[in-house]
């Protein structure tokens, strides 16, 4: 029965070419949109690796201040010390400008050996002070976070994240190991969970935290502060902080905002195109469904004679409706096979660096949806076909 149907449809492939093309394109659209959605959803479910609630970001703007980097840093240190004493502030730490949800990134190569060759990865570099742990509540899984013991260390102490460990130290303990980046020599003191400062939908990628020691007197690359505040802190504290910064800095500007706000606006930025994508593809799918339905309906009225003969030869109503349904499912399969040929190129060529699992799930999802769509569209026409009376249909000829 099935072989007969396939043969039937194969012989009519030219007449049904347009329908097959349409299903092919619909599959491609569903596959691409599905991949994008599954990929983002997977990332969304991964832990961020830090707590953003009750953390404020303070951007310091030295403006026209012409003094040396060292003097600027001294002023910044005064500001940090003053902020720490304000009631409502729990902890303050300096950091580089690639703060969570800021969209700023700083990437470099990280190698196991000094020369070329050997394991290496391209990771995000985050410069952080010891006080960052009480601010962001990073999840340390092995070893420890930076502290006073690291003062005077020969190599720059670093904490790597889970991805960095997996890429550089598969199956070994990274603690105490040395990593190189350009001329920089670092030593691993701890391992943290994945850290996704680029936001809820970003993919977890290799990252490394580099220690900023209290002796570090540069200002240029550390002009941001992260501040953990009491849960009840509000505009009052914010105003107080900006007043203090302006008083100590003599004309320095500041921009203070909670990380949760940055998170929402960053999320809005990445969700908007996704939502637009969903709306557009939804419309395309409805469009295809209506078209499919229309074409099937028309086909039934054209094939009244054929169906009449089959009924007269003893086919039951059930046989007829199964045939109509079976035909469209076979056609859908033809379209799907073509589409799969194209879709398979994505994981094979690895164009976008997405795991194969995502593509496979998207293929399954797209195929399932299309079969469902075809079945729903064929239901009414197949009942119509089953209701054809042989006597009436045959007299028309």
């Amino acid at each position: 029965m099935l072989r007969h149907l396939v043969k039937l449809m194969w012989n009519r492939r030219q007449a049904n070419g347009l329908l097959i093309t349409e299903i092919f394109f619909a599959f491609i659209v569903l596959f691409i949109v599905g991949s994008a959605l599954i990929y983002n959803q997977q990332n969304y479910r991964t832990l961020l690796g830090f707590d953003y609630e009750q953390v404020w970001q303070v951007d310091l703007d030295a403006g026209n201040d012409q003094r040396s980097d060292r003097e600027l840093e001294a002023t910044q240190r005064q500001i940090v010390q003053r902020l720490q004493t304000l009631p409502g502030v729990r902890a303050v730490a300096r950091t580089s400008s690639n703060t969570p949800f800021s969209g700023n990134t700083n990437r470099s190569d990280l190698k196991r050996t000094k020369g070329s060759g050997g394991a290496y990865t391209n990771g995000n570099f985050y410069y952080m002070e010891d006080a960052m742990q009480p601010v962001l509540h990073l999840h340390i899984t092995q070893g420890r976070w930076f502290d006073k013991r690291d003062d005077g260390a020969a190599r720059l102490p670093v904490v790597i994240t889970r991805e960095t460990q997996e890429e550089l130290f598969p199956g070994q303990s990274p603690l105490g190991q040395v990593l190189y980046s350009g001329d920089l020599e670092t030593q691993v003191v701890g391992v943290a969970e994945s850290y996704r400062a680029s936001g809820d939908l970003s993919d977890p990628r290799a990252a490394v935290f580099l220690r900023v020691s209290p002796q570090d007197t540069t200002f240029a690359h550390l002009e941001k502060l992260l501040v953990r505040v009491q849960p009840d802190a509000g505009a009052e504290l914010e105003k107080q902080m900006s007043t203090e910064i302006m008083r100590i800095g003599r004309g320095w500007g500041s921009n203070i905002g909670p990380l949760s706000e940055y998170r929402v606006s960053q999320l809005k930025l990445v969700l908007t195109p996704l939502i637009a994508l969903i709306i557009v593809s939804l419309f395309l799918i409805i469009n295809v469904a209506l078209g499919l339905f229309g074409v099937l309906w028309l086909n039934i009225s054209r094939r009244r004679g054929e169906i009449g003969v089959r009924r007269a030869m003893g086919a039951t109503a059930g046989n007829i409706s199964w045939q109509v349904l079976g035909e469209i499912l076979v056609l859908t399969t033809f379209g799907l096979l073509l589409g799969l040929l194209v879709a398979a190129q994505f994981p094979l060529l690895g164009v976008l660096g997405v795991q194969t699992g995502v593509y496979l799930t998207a293929m399954l999802l797209a195929a399932g949806l299309l079969y469902l769509l075809a079945t729903v569209c064929a239901l009414y026409p197949s009942r119509l076909a089953a209701g054809i009376q042989p006597a009436v249909a045959l007299r028309e000829e």
Binding site: L18, G251, N255, L284, G291, N299
Partner: protein
């Protein structure tokens, strides 16, 4: 003749309403989405307040110190722009402004974050803002470093609670006091070279105007005397730039900076292009390709449906052919019918697009956005409709015209 075609088309539409609905649904939603996209595009780079004379404006927003192995890219230093732009003879006006900035004001202990822009006096002559009250600050006020400011409508409402009688009152931002001299209508945030909540003289900002560094916090806008003179201005600017000394020749070999239209500029920034090619051609091709791809599925759908409906018309086609109508005449007739159908769908699509844009405005997804349909959007809509109509009509029309008269009259399709 045409009228007859249209009459027939109308009758065909009314004959099977369900299929008419399917066709119209496909056409109108396709056009709606394309129109919304175009309206967003027009909103971002079309001629709107304050860049009403967009065809005469040139923007200089980024400078790159370039060599094979080392690049440094940023907005531009004030001193650099001031020195090399004011020697130009061809532009009618030159304005230099900060690329952005922010300040904080407090109203009854509530924080009010203001996007600020520090500009020169010419800024207000190059651009056309809608002033609700007051006036722009003058070139002289900028020279004398007067603490004056122009604010937008929303800021006036938030800070003073009203837009009436605000002129002459003071705004305190970042603990500096500015006298309000003018209020303008909100500028959409998408116009990021000119949009702000508060504009103030560049001489009272924290920007170091003497800093000799080529890279800095500023951008420049040039106004050409006519749209036709734009290439001349670009040429002169490029000649000046070619003679600019390269700072630290050890590291860099070239200074790359271009004066370009707003659209070209945005595309350049988006693609991260710094060379002579701004990527505009590539971007336009990409857009057209995506648009075509998007239209393909609804068009296929329509082709499919129309091709399946040939049977309905077979007796009509048979009669026409028997009386001597050629294939070409029939193709013409069916194309006209299809374009007529697409036009109907287009009208619906325009209405839907207007609704979608109104919803977007209401959602306040983009601050101060005011999307709308205008003449340009209508023009583009018409073009898209004709294209879509032809795209989806040619093949079915061809199939119809190929029917053999005898078989068509008998009611067959082969």
């Amino acid at each position: 003749m045409l009228l007859n075609y249209l009459k027939i088309a109308w009758k065909v539409l009314l004959r099977r309403k369900f299929f008419t609905f399917i066709s119209l649904f496909g056409i109108s939603f396709t056009l709606m989405i394309l129109l919304v996209v175009y309206a967003l595009f027009d909103h971002t780079v079309g001629a709107h307040t304050p860049e009403k004379r967009i065809d005469r404006l040139l923007f200089i927003t980024h400078l790159e110190l370039w060599s094979d192995h080392s690049q440094s890219n940023s907005t531009v230093g004030y001193a650099f722009l001031n020195r090399y732009l004011h020697v130009l003879r061809t532009p009618e006006k030159v304005s230099i402004a900060s690329s952005g900035g922010s300040a904080v004001a407090y109203v009854n202990n509530q924080k009010l974050k203001l996007d600020t822009k520090a500009t020169d006096g010419e800024f207000w002559q190059v651009l056309d803002f809608d002033f609700i009250a007051g006036r722009p600050y003058t070139v002289r006020e900028v020279r004398e470093a007067a603490h004056v400011a122009v604010i937008n409508e929303t800021t006036a409402r938030r800070y003073f609670g009203t837009t009436q009688g605000v002129i002459g009152r003071t705004v305190e931002a970042d603990q500096e006091r500015f006298r309000v001299v003018g209020i303008v209508r909100d500028v959409p945030a998408a116009r990021f070279y000119t949009s702000a909540d508060m504009w103030k003289p560049i001489t009272v900002s924290s920007i170091n105007l003497q800093d000799p560094n080529y890279l800095g916090p500023c951008i420049a806008i040039l106004l050409a005397p006519t749209a036709a003179a734009v290439p001349t201005v670009q040429q002169e600017f490029q000649q000046v730039i070619d003679r600019v000394p390269v700072p630290s020749p050890k590291d860099y070999t070239e200074v790359r900076v271009y004066a370009e239209s707003m659209f070209a500029n945005m595309v350049r920034v988006y693609f991260g292009e710094s060379g002579p090619d701004n990527g505009l051609g590539r971007f336009v091709r990409l857009l057209l390709g995506l648009g075509l791809l998007f239209m393909l599925l609804p068009a296929l759908n329509l082709i499919n449906l129309n091709a399946s409906r040939i049977l309905e018309r077979s007796s009509e086609i048979g009669v026409r052919k028997a009386f001597g109508a050629t294939g070409n005449v029939l193709v013409g007739q069916f194309l006209v019918e299809n374009i007529f159908l697409t036009l109907l769908g287009g009208v619906l699509g325009l209405a839907l697009a207007a609704g979608a844009l109104a919803a977007l405005n209401a959602s306040a997804l983009i601050p101060y956005a005011h999307f709308g349909l205008n003449g340009r959007v209508f023009g583009v809509a018409l073009l898209i409709i004709l294209f879509f109509g032809a795209l989806s009509g040619v093949y079915p029309a061809y199939r119809m015209s190929k029917l053999h008269a005898v078989q068509a009259l008998k009611g067959g399709t082969k």
